[in-house]
C-alpha cells in the first residue's frame, strides 16, 4: 500500500521555483494497479520519484507499506520496489542478461537462480531468451529496449512497482500483447503498482483505478468506468474524449448485461407451424433455435410461413460467436455490421448460455450516464 498525504514538491527556490506537485492526498491500495494520467508536465514522474525518494519531498508524507519513505534507508527502499524509468535507461556497457539481473545481483541471488529468472522475464516480455540474453542494449530497437526495462523492474519480484510510461515506445501490436500478459500476471501476483501513461486506452484497460492530474493537482481518482461515466469536470470529460460511451463499452463484458434465461428459444425439432404459433402468441419477433444445448441459429416469422419441416432445418446460423467475457464494444460492432439486434451467447464449452440484445446494452449505458447532466455543469466548478 502507498499513501500520499498532503504531498507537495517545489523545485528550486526564489523566483525560479517550480511547483510540480501542489497538495495531493490519496492512497494506492495493496494489490491495485493505479494509473497516473494527465498531460505532459502535470507532475506524474515527479510523484513517482518522490515515492522512491529519488527526489525529496517539500511537504507532506508518503508511506509505503506503512513506512514513511523519508525515514527509510533509500537504497533498501528502492531495492524493495521495481522502477521502470521513463527514459528506459539500460546500462549500455552491460548485456541484456546483466541489465535485467541488476537488482537480483544487488540482493545476492545465486547464479543459477538469476539465469533462470532472466529467461523467464525475457519470455514474459515476448523476446526470445536465447537470442537476446547476451546482446547489448545498442543492438535492440527502442521498443525492445523498453521491454528489457520492464523486465529489469520486475526482476527481483518486488511487491511494489513504479512504472513510468513502461510501454510508451512499443508498437501497438506488441503493446497489446504485453499489456495482456502483464494483466494476466497482475491478476495472479496482485502487486501494488503506480503506472504512468499518456494513453487513455491503456489507462482504461489496465487500471483498477485512475488518478487524473492537472498542473500538480489530483483532479479525480476513481475506477475507470466511473471516470468515463461521471467525469468530475469538463477538463476530465475532454481528456477522456467524446467517445467515452464507446470506451465504457470496452470495459463492460457480455456477462454483465446478458439474459441467461430468455423465453424466446425453441427446440430444433419443433415444427415450423408450431413455432410460428408460439411466436405469434408471445409477440416475439424471432426465436433462438437450440439443438442439444447448442444454438444452431435463429428464425423469424417470415421464414416459417407455409413451412412444416422442423425449425432446425430453417434456422439461419449466427454470423459470429459471442462469448460471455467478450467486450460489449465488440458485440455492438458485430450488431452494426450484421444488422442484428440480438445475438446468442456461448459459454466456455460452446453451449448456449443466453442472449445479448442491443436494448440491454443501451439500457446499461443509459444507467451509467444517468444523472450526468446534473453532475456535469462545468461552469460552477471552474
Amino acid at each position: 500500500m502507498i499513501t500520499y498525504e498532503n504531498v507537495a514538491k517545489i523545485f528550486g527556490s526564489g523566483p525560479e521555483a517550480v511547483t510540480a506537485i501542489k497538495n495531493i492526498s490519496f492512497e494506492i491500495e495493496k494489490g491495485n494497479l493505479v494509473i497516473f494520467l494527465g498531460p505532459s508536465g502535470c507532475g506524474k514522474t515527479t510523484l513517482l520519484r518522490l515515492t522512491n525518494r529519488l527526489i525529496t519531498l517539500t511537504r507532506g508524507t508518503i508511506t509505503v507499506n506503512g513506512q514513511d519513505v523519508m525515514k527509510a534507508d533509500p537504497v533498501k527502499l528502492r531495492q524493495s520496489m521495481g522502477y521502470a524509468i521513463q527514459q528506459i535507461g539500460l546500462f549500455p556497457n552491460k548485456t541484456i542478461a546483466d541489465n535485467i539481473s541488476t537488482v537480483p545481483r544487488l540482493l545476492g541471488w545465486d547464479r543459477k537462480k538469476i539465469q533462470e529468472r532472466v529467461g523467464e522475464l525475457l519470455a514474459m516480455v515476448q523476446l526470445e531468451p536465447a537470442a537476446f540474453r547476451d546482446r547489448f542494449p545498442a543492438e535492440l530497437s527502442g521498443g525492445q529496449q523498453q521491454r528489457i526495462g520492464v523486465a529489469r523492474c520486475l526482476a527481483a519480484n518486488p511487491d511494489i512497482l513504479l512504472m513510468d510510461e513502461p510501454f510508451g515506445a512499443i508498437d501497438p501490436i506488441n503493446r497489446e500483447e504485453i499489456q495482456n500478459e502483464f494483466l494476466r500476471l497482475q491478476r495472479k501476483l496482485k502487486k501494488t503498482i503506480a503506472f504512468v501513461t499518456h494513453d487513455i486506452h491503456e489507462a482504461i484497460k489496465m487500471g483498477d483505478k485512475i488518478a487524473i492530474f492537472q498542473d500538480g493537482n489530483l483532479v479525480q481518482y476513481d475506477k475507470p468506468e466511473i471516470i468515463l461515466a461521471q467525469p468530475k469536470n469538463q477538463y476530465i470529460a475532454d481528456f477522456v474524449g467524446a467517445d467515452r460511451a464507446l470506451k465504457v463499452l470496452g470495459l463492460l463484458r457480455v456477462e454483465e448485461v446478458m439474459d441467461r434465461n430468455p423465453s424466446n428459444v425453441v427446440d430444433g425439432k419443433t415444427s415450423a407451424n408450431e413455432a410460428l404459433k408460439f411466436l405469434e402468441d408471445k409477440g416475439f419477433r424471432h426465436l433462438v433455435v437450440l439443438r442439444g444445448g447448442k444454438a444452431v441459429g435463429y428464425i423469424h416469422p417470415r421464414q416459417l410461413k407455409y413451412e412444416t419441416s422442423p425449425v432446425q432445418d430453417l434456422a439461419i446460423a449466427y454470423p459470429v460467436r459471442v462469448d460471455e467475457d467478450m467486450a460489449l464494444r465488440d458485440v455492438i460492432s458485430f450488431m452494426l455490421m450484421h444488422d442484428m439486434r440480438v445475438l446468442a451467447v456461448m459459454d466456455g464449452d460452446g453451449n448456449f448460455a443466453g442472449t445479448v440484445t442491443y436494448d440491454q446494452i443501451q439500457k446499461r449505458i443509459l444507467e451509467m450516464y444517468a444523472g450526468e447532466d446534473e453532475k456535469k455543469p462545468a461552469k460552477d466548478q471552474e
Binding site: 520519484r49 522512491n52 529519488l54 537504497v75 533498501k76 527502499l77 528502492r78 531495492q79 524493495s80 522502477y83 524509468i85 527514459q87 528506459i88 535507461g89 539500460l90 546500462f91 549500455p92 556497457n93 552491460k94 548485456t95 541488476t102 537488482v103 544487488l106 547489448f136 542494449p137 545498442a138 543492438e139 529489469r152 523492474c153 513504479l162
Partner: protein, 223 residues
Amino acid sequence: MEVIHFMVNNAARCFQLTLEHLWIVGVACTLAILIGVPIGVAITRSKSLASKVLNTANIFMTTPSIALFGIMIPILSPLGYGLGQVPAIVALVLYSQLPIIRNTYVAIMNVPPELVDAGKGLGMSSWRRLREVEIPLAVPVIIAGLRTAAVMSIGIAAIAAYIGAGGLGVLIQQGIGRAYAPMILSGAILVSVLAIFVDGFMALLERLVTPKGIKVGRRMRHG
C-alpha cells in the same frame, strides 16, 4: 648520417637511457593515475570543489618545467631527495594531474543522467553505481587523459636530466655541453620515437578498455 653513426656506436647506452626514461615516465604515470582518478571522481560530488581542484592542477600544468624542477629542489632537499629521479617523478605526477583529473571528472559528469537515475532507482549504492556503470563508461576517456599525460611527460622528462634524473635528456644535456650536434639529435630523435610509440600503445589501450557494449553501439550508429 653522423646521428645514425652515433646511435649505432652507443647502442647500449642509448638503450639503457631509453629504458631509464621509460621507467621515470611509467612510474610517474602510474602514480598520477592512482592519485588523479580518485580525485577526479571525488570532485564530481561538488561543483565548487571541482573548479578549485581543476584550477590548481592547471597552475601546475602551466608552470614551466624547468621552474617546477627548480622548486622541487628546496622542497625535497630536507628529505634527501633534492636531486635525481624522485623530484623528477614528483614533478611529472603534478604535470599529469590536470589531464587525468579533468578527463575523469568530465567523463563521469557526462554519464547520461538517466543511467544514474536508473541505477539509483533500482537501489544501487553510489559506490556500486560508480563501479558498475560510471567508471566503465568513463574509462576510455580516462585513458585518453593518461595518453595526453604520458606523451607530455616523455617530453618533460627529457629536461629532468638537468636535476640528475637520467634518461634520454642526458644525451641532449651532454651534447649541448660538448656542442656535439649528433648527440643532441640522437637524444631528441629517441625522445620523439618513444613518444610516438607510447602514444600508439595508449591508443590501443584505449580501444581495449572500451566496454564491448559501447563499441557495438558505435558500430551500429556508423553503419
